[in-house]
Amino acid sequence: MPQPLLAQTPTIATPIGTPAGTPIVNTAGLRYDADGTSQSTSSNTVTIIVAERLDVALVRDGQGAIVVSAQPVAIPLTLTNLDNGAESFVLAASVSPGMATLRALVIDTDGDGFYDPAKDVAPVDGKTPLLAPGQSIKLLAILVATPEGGATNAVLTVTARSMTGSGATGNVYPSAGDGGGDAVVGPTGALATVSVPLGTALAGPVLLKSQSVRAADGSQTAVRDAVITYTLEARFTDAVTGARIADPIPVGTVFVPGSLTLDGAPLSDGVDDDAGRFDPSTAQGAGITVALGRVAAGSIHTVQFKAKIQ
């Protein structure tokens, strides 16, 4: 099923720009006529040195929850130096307490997305080598399931921070830039973070159904003419398209017209523009259908309808 792409980190479209330390040199020329002859000369020359803008991006290559097991699993990430100078980045990775344990965070030397212990080594002192402006490297977070770790889902967090400095946009590190100029923290704060949800089983969409009964006398007794409210809660871990919920009306009950809702908003029973409808005669008998269409990752949608006991 086609799935919309999820951006882990806002894409930075800004080009890297003029390298830090570049001198910008300006001289104006001038001409004039004096005593009937044409003269030309030039202005003074003014020079400014381009400062270093500290910026970094870290994105995960892929999306959705990662399944960890006793066998190590590698999660590929891409680190990009968005700095206009050469920069090294301090890397850190951690897993929140739960069913997974971080084995290592390594540089994927050949960038193939697979862990090769002979080549893919942990960065020295937790730092990347100097990366040229715009240069990207691949990282791999190696995880295994924690023995007796239980079923509590965990989250992997990886951060990359500019060696020269990070913090609020506009912070200045005097004379710390390439070429002797200042270094200035750019729009990314010179810090990038990626969070990856971890699980022990592939978590597809889950549909939870519950019901409540209300009889004419106000009790919860399931007697004739008591009304049952059915609640269908659909939980999506990943973004999907074309999602739909269908539920038959239970035998021995009749659908209460006009009772269908999606996330609290009423849906008409007919086949029309809105997402829901009631079908008096499907292959499984009478039933409701709600088309959710495209849903976002991590979203929950709730469908309710009422049926009367006969």
């Binding site: 800004t14 080009p15 890297i16 720009g17 003029t18 830090a20 570049t22 910008i24 040199v25 300006n26 001289t27 104006a28 020329g29 001038l30 001409r31 004039y32 006529d33 004096a34 005593d35 044409s38 003269q39 000369t41 030039s42 202005s43 003074n44 020359t45 003014v46 400014i48 381009v50 400062a51 270093e52 803008r53 206009n84 200045v172 100029g181 200042d182 200035v184 750019g186």
Partner: protein
């Protein structure tokens, strides 16, 4: 040990200043940035200051201040500023006359009149990013002792 190179640097700077000041028309070029501060009356005051930390995408203001320091008027004064290649032209600075611009260093005019030739031979309207040089002409002679300035806004590529 460090004294000698410093003296050399000072001497070079003096020599440059002397050559620029040789004629009666003196032009001082500067690259500035806008500094915003809150004024006492609640408005925002924009002043031009020397930059300390220009990074790609930042706006810079090029200022050419001119003065006739001689005793005679100067006719047909033209100031010509080829842009450093890391600089993208934007517009005249508010308060300054608009310069004629050029995309080839030969033909000057307003931006709307200029076209850029593509490698396939077709042409398109010029945009500020195509500007390679700006130029101002003084319409009337510059009287002895009088002065003025031109300024344009640009962006560091």
């Amino acid at each position: 040990m460090i004294t000698r190179p410093m003296i050399a640097a000072v001497l070079v700077a003096t020599a440059a200043a002397a050559s620029a000041a040789a004629g009666p028309l003196q032009v001082s070029s500067s690259i500035l940035v806008e500094a915003r501060s809150a004024a006492a009356d609640g408005t925002t005051r924009v002043t031009l200051v020397k930059p300390t930390k220009v990074t790609p995408g930042d706006k810079v203001i090029f200022v050419l201040a001119y003065r006739n320091s001689g005793a005679q008027p100067l006719a047909n004064v033209v100031l010509d500023n080829p842009l450093p290649r890391q600089i993208a032209y934007r517009s005249a600075n508010p308060g300054s006359p608009a310069p004629d611009v050029s995309v080839d260093g030969k033909t000057y005019g307003s931006l709307a009149t200029l076209r850029v030739r593509s490698p396939d031979g077709s042409t398109r309207a010029a945009s500020p990013n195509d500007v390679t040089s700006v130029r101002w002409r003084l319409a009337s002679p510059l009287a002895a002792g009088s002065q003025g300035q031109f300024a344009f806004q640009a962006v560091l590529k």
